[in-house]
Structure formats: C-alpha cells, structure tokens
Amino acid sequence: MKKMNFGIAIFFIALSCYVLISAQSFPGKIGNVPGPGYFPTILSCVLIALSLILILTSREASDAPLGIFSKGNRIVFVAAGVTLAYFGGLLIFGFLIATPLYLVAILRYFKMTEWRSLILTSGITTAASYAIFTTILEVQLPSGMF
C-alpha cells in the first residue's frame, strides 16, 4: 500500500504541476471576476497539498505489496492488452468481424476449453448485441475500413 500511495501521490503532483503551469497562460481575473485560470490554479495547489499529506501519512502504512504487477495478476494486463487489440480490430475490421474474434480469444484465455461452447457463446453474444443495438436501438456500430 505504501508504494501504491507514493505512486499515486507522485502522479497527482505531476498532473497538478502540469495544470498549474498551463493555467498561467489563462487570465486569472477578468475585471473583478475570477477568470478561466483561477480554478485550475487553486485546485492544482490543493491537490499538491493533499498528495504531500498522503506521502507524509503513508510512511506509517503497511509495506505489504498489493500484487498488481505480480505473476498471478497477469491475467488483468493480458486481458487489457487483448481488449486494446480489439479496439484496433474494431477500427480496421469492424464490429461483426472483430467482436467474435475478440470473444474467442479472451474466453479461450479465460480457460474455456470446449470449442463448441466457445464458438456458440462468441457467436450468440455478437449476433445478439448487433441485433439489439443496430436493429432495435438504431445505433451505428463500427463498420471498419473495408
């Protein structure tokens, strides 16, 4: 938890510094009234202060690892990677081709070993979601480049 707190606090400080620097290019006041730079400046200062308090108070926090990047937690990042690849697939091949491929890949990775149920689940889910969104709800789903 300690490392996590430090990591997030440092990220927040970096973000606040970026906001603070960017906000200097906006007018802080327009006449007597706060301008567009007023709130970003105040908020980023508050976030920096809160992050510093977190760093200071986290010194007493437990040092036990959260296991986010552990081997056992690899499944989260592999699934996130496959999902990211699916976004690319959507852009290139469109919903009807990319979705069943994505579902087959991820279900297989989630240890669904039986091919028949794998293909049925992927096919039915794709067909049902396509039918609901395009036919009933009239939402345009990605059609791809071709």
């Binding site: 927040f12 007597n32 567009p36 977190l54 852009l91």
Partner: protein
C-alpha cells in the same frame, strides 16, 4: 395531466423498460462483485435512442431491482450482492442454515417492496414542494448548492477521507477540460476538437464503474458461486406479514430520510434500521439468530433510500450517491437538466417517472416472489463468461453515445485508472460527483461575481445561499474533525495501554 401520466406510464414501451430494468437490476444486484452503479452505467447505452421517460424508467427499474437483488445472495450464500444488503446477511443466512431460505427471500421481497412504496409516496409528496422553493434560486444559490453537493465528497469517501478528497479534486480538475463557458477559452484540450465540449460523462462513468470492476473480477475469475439451498415458493405467510408490517413502516421512513441526505446510501440506512429495530425489540438478543424483523428492517430501509435519493437528484440536481450521480449523467444526455425547471418544463416526464417508480416496485415484488428460482440460476453464471460480455457492453456503450472511437479509449483509460485507484483504496464516486457538479459550481460562482461586481458578500446577503454554504462547510469539516478526533482518541487509548 393525470390521464396523460397514466397513458404515458401504461404504454408498452415504459412497462417493458421497467420490466427489463428491474429484471436486469435483480440479476446484477444478486451477483456479488457487480454493483447497482455498474448496472446503471452498463444499461445507459441502451437508453440513448429511447424516449427520455422510457430510458429513465429502464435505469430507475435497475436501481430499484439491484438494491433488492443484493439480498438474494445475502440470504442464500452469506455474501451480500451489494453493500446495501450487508446487514441482511446477519439474520438472512441463519434462515438458509435452518432450511428456510424461501421464507427469508419472501420477507426480503415484501419488505423491499414496502420500503420502496413508502419512499415513492415521499418522493411524490416532497419533490414538487422542494422544486417550488428551488425555482427561486439564482446564480448565488445555485453555486452554494453545487458547493454543498461537492462537500458531500467528505461523507462518501468511506474509510479514507484524504483519498476521497483527492479523488474529488481530481474530478474537479477533469471537469475543467473543454471550452470555458464564460470566456470561451479552451482549457486542457490539447487543441483537439474532441475535448472542446469537455470529457464525455458516460465513457468516464462506464470506465470507472464497469470496466474497472471487470478488471477487479478477473482477480477472482475462477471463484464459483454455488447455490445449494432448495428454492420453491417465496410467498410469505400471513403471520410473518403481520409481524413485519410495523418494521417495514419504520424502515421505509428511515430509509427515505437517509436517502434524501446526500452522501448516505442504502448500506448506512440498512444498518441504522437494523440497529433501531433491535433497540425497539422486546427480544433484542434474538437478532442475528434468524428472525423476520432482522431481514425486514434492513431490506425496507435500503429500498427506502431509492425514492429518497431521487428527491435531491430531481429537484436540485444534486446526486446523493454514485447511483444517482450516474443517473444525473443520463438525465443530461436526455437534455433533461435536473432541478426546479424540470418540474416546470417537463412536468409530464417528471410525473411519469414518479408513477413509473411505483410500478417498478410492484414489478419487483412480482418478480421477486415468482422468479427467485431463475435469479438464483443467473447468479451462477461463471465469471469467465460474464466478464468478457460485460467488457463488450462497456465498449459498445462508450461508442454508441457519439459514434466516436476516442470515447472507447477514454472509457478504457478510465477503466485502467479506476482499477489502480480501487487497488489503492481511493473511492471512485467523488470523481463522478465532482466531474458533474464542478462546472455548475464554477460557472455560477463567476456569474454571481459578475452580478455583484466581484463582491463576495453576495453569498451572505442571499439567505438560502448562505445556508447552503454553511451546510457545505459543516459537511466538509465534520467528517474531517471526526476523523481527527477518532485518531486522537485512539492514540490516547494506545498511550494509556502502554502505560498500563
């Protein structure tokens, strides 16, 4: 008006939306790990092409169903489906151990229905009166109200106040993205047209509440839910009904009142009602051993919060919890700006929502009593199948709102970021609350100061604004003071122990 509302609410579209919403809500609520907020975020994309009243009824139905649905697994497998059902476990599971799970499920269904109906009556009676008062609000009052809404962050931060405040400030910073409403200047848009209108709420909410939850579920992907209890009929006996009636009345009223208070949700109200009922009981020692009042109190109370939470949402545009925060986003997508004007300009929609809320509770009662067997089966859908389907819904939902690929990326980034924040024990609700209320606060503060030529005393010369600012200060400082006092007394006690 009455006839218009009736014909509206009895239309097949609205009835179907309520039916689907409640069914989805009960299923989602019953599955441990899936929350009612996640359900609302996931269902939202299905509503974009619907009429506003139909779409909102789908979401309200889900809200009502999910709060009840949490009790199913609380009773059957000793695991609350939602945090609101945590108190139900105490007396619910002992029924299952005695082989009386159906009796417990029946009591929970009737109590949830009773609590929901009581809160619906309060909603219908209080909301229009409150909206009438809110009609007199100008920029200073609206700023003070938004400030009060933001101050709730302190009370919804859970056990870690500092992290909650950090999440809230992050949400306020995210709300700054886009074109400044007053000066027309672009802020933090990286010169892209995509960010000119600010971050789209829906992809951020879907990412934070649904996608991040999928990542969390993956950590326990192969944990199976097994329902061993035999399910038959859940209709409670007349003797049980007589016994729980006063409990339901008290729980429903308590839940509604707690629901109205922004920041306090079903989980808190359920425990308060449970404790209250135990104190009032002639046999307090029997609580926790499996008695009907021990189920009726938390269940009527947590469903009582549903109607209560809708009161500040619809009348003032202040979401009291994560569920109503997501619903606020949905209202905005429908161009229904919540607040007093909604009651003037869209009175038919508002009254349809009121009537629909009551019907949703009736549908929940019917489904709960007749469909427990089906819902107990749904609970057992293996996570390796469920998680990819939910992830797919997140992708479609984010894309559907504007037909823009970048929204999918925003959703995904919010999902990853939400996952890391959950792991770091940062609450997510403050981000959404601040993201929604931030622009309202900033815009109205500046408008107020334009009105007063930069004189800040305008907020004190408006009594309602001054009251809200005072309430905001108290709401922000009280949890901080309480937190520090607790720490101080703990340190004091530890010191005493060491001396001994």
């Amino acid at each position: 008006m009455m006839m218009d509302v009736l014909s509206n609410v009895m239309s097949w579209q609205i009835l179907l939306a309520i039916f689907c919403g409640v069914a989805a809500g009960i299923s989602i609520g019953a599955m441990p790990g899936l929350t009612s907020t996640m359900g609302i975020a996931l269902l939202m994309p299905f509503t974009f092409q619907l009429e506003p009243a139909v779409g909102m009824m789908l979401l309200i139905g889900e809200f009502v169903g999910a709060i009840y649905g949490g009790s199913i697994t609380a009773i059957m497998i000793n695991t609350p489906g939602t945090p609101s059902a945590a108190a139900t476990v105490l007396d619910g599971y002992p029924f299952t151990k005695r082989g009386e799970s159906c009796r417990a499920l029946g009591i929970s269904t009737v109590a949830s229905f009773g609590g929901g109906i009581i809160s619906g009556i309060f909603l219908i009676l209080i909301a229009p009166q409150l909206a009438e008062i809110a009609l007199k609000f100008s920029a200073p009052e609206t700023f003070a109200l938004a400030l009060f809404g933001i101050s709730i962050i302190a009370s919804i931060s859970g056990k870690n106040l500092l992290k909650g405040l950090m999440s809230g400030v992050l949400g306020l910073l995210l709300a700054l993205i886009g074109m400044d409403n007053i000066s027309g200047l672009s802020r933090f848009t990286f010169d892209t047209v995509f960010l000119m209108n600010g971050l789209s709420f829906i992809p951020v909410m879907v990412g934070l509440f649904a996608m991040s939850q999928c990542f969390m579920s993956m950590e326990e992907l192969y944990h199976e839910v097994k329902v061993t209890a035999k399910i038959t009929s859940a209709i409670p006996s007349l003797a049980d009904l007589k016994k729980i009636l006063p409990t339901i009345l008290r729980g429903g009223v308590t839940g509604t009142m707690i629901g109205i208070i922004p920041g306090a949700g079903g989980d808190i109200s359920a425990f308060i009602s449970y404790d209250m009922e135990r104190r009032l009981s002639k046999h307090p020692e029997r609580f926790g051993t499996g008695i009907v009042e021990g189920i009726a109190a938390p269940e009527s109370s947590n469903n009582g919060t549903t109607g209560g939470a809708l009161i500040p949402l619809l009348t003032l545009g202040i979401p009291g919890d994560a569920n109503t925060a997501v619903m606020l986003g949905a209202l905005m997508v429908f161009n229904l700006t919540p607040g007093p004007q909604l009651f003037v300009e869209q009175s038919l929609v508002v009254n349809t929502l009121f009537a629909g809320f009551m019907i949703a509770n009736v549908v929940m009662l019917i489904m709960g009593l007749s469909g427990v067997r089906i819902f107990s089966k749904i609970v057992q859908i293996p996570r390796p199948v469920l998680v990819p389907i939910v992830m797919l819904m997140c992708v479609i939902g984010s894309f559907a709102i504007n037909g823009n690929y970048l929204d999918i990326i925003v959703m995904f980034m919010a999902g990853i970021f939400g996952y890391l924040l959950i792991k770091g024990e940062f609450p997510l609700s403050p981000i959404v609350l601040a993201l929604i209320l931030g622009p309202m606060a900033e815009g109205n503060l500046r408008r107020s100061l334009v009105m007063s030529h930069g004189d800040y005393s305008i907020f004190l010369s408006h009594p309602i604004a001054a009251t809200f600012i005072f309430a905001a200060v108290v709401s922000l400082i009280w949890p901080i003071a309480k937190h520090l006092l607790n720490k101080y007394s703990m340190a004091l006690r530890a010191g005493e122990m060491q001396r001994k």
